[in-house]
């Protein structure tokens, strides 16, 4: 090993780094191209606007599935975002460093690593059975909140902690209370990071399948309330692929999923950049 010259070792290192980047990009492209090329032919407005017919044929579209997904994500975020931001503010700004808060932090770390199906079983036991919410969008959303809360809290806490200390000192020295300092200076400065974490959670919620299978059921009917059962896009892909012969419809649904995720990500980047531009004087 000693005999390798610095120049050669640099070339080897660069080769590895380049290969890593290339492989990542290639995998992403491959998946997107594959799903879109298989899915787009079956994808048209009609597909988006008709109900799935159910049964083995997998005929029909995905209108009810889209509605269920929108309800589910909407309800999940409505609960997740305020609770998550509240907990993150507490941990980042108020929590003293003692055994209790260390335990909370440890708990959050562990929860973030628990497989989603475990949350699904928990959601089934608590929301579906014990609380009698049945297989419903509400049960699914509450389960997703439990699943995503650790991620939401951790990423938001990081965003809050990344706000320079000098902003806090500046506000406090002007005679602001602690809460004014947080609400008027710290949180606005942390907004880009918080948006990122919300979108990250949205992405995971859209992609989640297993834990929703056991909490939402999988009804393909149009949901009439939050207590209706439902089927998300990911679940629908799963059903179509596993229980019907309609692989083309599964691919079309997958294409919709991918497009939504790409749109969500683009929107995030755009929003975060806009915010930091407004805050940072256009640099």
């Amino acid at each position: 090993m000693r005999n390798i010259s610095p120049k050669t070792s640099q070339k080897i290192a660069l080769g590895f780094i380049w290969a890593g980047g290339f492989i990542t990009a290639a995998i992403l492209l491959l998946i997107v191209v594959y799903v879109l090329s298989r899915g787009l032919p079956a994808l048209d407005l009609d597909f988006l606007l008709t109900k799935p017919r159910g049964g083995l044929s997998g005929e029909g579209g995905i209108s009810t599935v889209i509605v269920s997904t929108v309800y589910l994500i909407g309800l999940t975020l409505t609960i997740l975002v305020p609770v998550g931001i509240g907990a993150a503010i507490y941990l980042a700004e108020y929590a003293p460093s003692n055994r209790f808060t260390n335990f909370i932090r440890y708990g959050i770390e562990v929860l973030a690593g628990v497989p989603s199906i475990i949350f699904g079983l928990f959601g089934f036991a608590l929301f579906v059975t014990a609380l009698h919410f049945k297989f419903s969008i509400l049960s699914g959303a509450l389960t997703l909140v439990c699943l995503l809360l650790p991620t939401m809290i951790r990423t938001t806490e990081e965003a809050i902690k990344a706000v320079p200390r000098s902003y806090r000192e500046g506000a406090l020295a002007l005679g602001c209370t602690r809460w004014q300092t947080i609400a008027r200076v710290v949180l606005p400065a942390a907004i880009p990071g918080i948006i990122t974490s919300v979108i990250l959670c949205t992405g995971r919620a859209i992609g989640e399948t297993a834990c929703l299978y056991v909490t939402m059921g999988g009804s393909a009917a149009m949901p009439t309330s939050l207590l209706s059962g439902g089927r998300t896009l990911s679940l629908h892909v799963f059903y179509l692929a596993m229980e019907t012969r309609a692989m083309d419809k599964a691919m079309a649904t997958a294409a919709v999923l991918i497009i939504v995720i790409i749109l969500v990500n683009t929107l995030t980047t755009w929003l975060a950049r806009r915010f930091s531009m407004r805050m940072g004087g256009g640099q």
């Binding site: 506000a171 406090l172 020295a173 005679g175 008027r184």
Partner: protein
């Protein structure tokens, strides 16, 4: 509120020729003693500089006056710190009211990530002023007093972070003025600035000293000699606690120091 009443009464009866006073003050961070028995009387409407080698507790002393040390867990203050005769570490004192009276400018300019206007209006808004016309007046007024108006009057809506370092620091001073303090603490306000910007800040300090009591911590001897009326020289003892070595008029400290250590430091033989 209790403090306000006492302060006003004290001011009315002109009992205090001293604006701020520390009486045998010691400061501890846990077991570590940062300051020992500092006694200092600060005259109103003047500039007092605190000088001394790094780590001698200058900033710690400065931060006693607006209780910024409160932010550090396990910081303990012994002795008395008085503003217009009232002990500011008394339980009845509201630290938020205190900090409105005793403003602070930091070492590194720290404008908030918002527009120039919003930076200045920040303090008044948090303290309940929402009338746009009134805020406009405050913003223009304090920017004039901070000698920044001409440079920024056409871009009040732009981000404060786009200003130069010197402009940012003057903005921070203007932001403090908008809260109508009586005392302004400055913690090495020019250490991040170039000489031209430094001179502008010093001019500004001189003009502000007519109405405000200013205390400045500085590493720059010439700066202390140029701007301050009174100078306090601090040093740390062997156990690293900061002590006040000598306190007097700036000209006395710089031309005729009584203490050998002051003389050594001033003449550059040590430090």
């Amino acid at each position: 509120m209790k403090m306000n009443v006492t302060l006003e009464r004290a001011a009315e009866t002109n009992l205090c020729v001293t604006k701020l006073r520390t009486d045998m003050v010691s400061l501890f961070y846990g077991k570590f003693q940062a300051l020992r028995n500092v006694s200092l009387d600060i005259t109103p409407c003047s500039i007092t500089s605190i000088i001394g080698p790094s780590g001698c507790g200058k900033s710690s002393l400065l931060r006693l006056f607006n209780r910024m040390n409160d932010l550090i867990p396990n910081a303990v203050v012994k002795g008395k710190v008085e503003l217009d005769g009232t002990d500011i570490y008394d339980r009845a004192v509201d630290v938020v009211d205190l900090r409105k009276k005793v403003g602070m400018v930091f070492q590194k300019p720290n404008p908030f990530p918002m527009s120039i206007y919003d930076n200045i209006a920040f303090g008044p808004r948090q303290h309940g002023k929402t009338n746009r016309a009134e805020l406009d007046k405050i913003v223009e007024n304090v920017l004039h007093r901070a000698a920044l108006w001409e440079e920024v009057k056409d871009k009040l809506g732009q981000s404060a972070l786009a200003l130069s370092g010197g402009q940012q620091q003057r903005l921070c001073i203007a932001r403090v003025l908008a809260v109508e303090p009586e005392v302004i603490l400055m913690d090495e306000p020019c250490s991040a600035l170039d000489p031209v910007a430094t001179l502008k800040i010093e001019d500004l300090m001189r003009s502000l000293a007519q109405n405000y009591t200013i205390i400045i911590v500085t590493h720059n001897m010439q700066q202390a000699a140029r701007v301050s009326d009174m100078a306090a020289f601090m040093m740390m003892t062997e156990d690293r606690a900061g002590e006040l070595v000598e306190y007097g008029t700036t000209s006395q400290i710089f031309t005729n120091p009584k203490d050998k250590r002051t003389e050594d430091y001033i003449t550059g033989r040590f430090g």
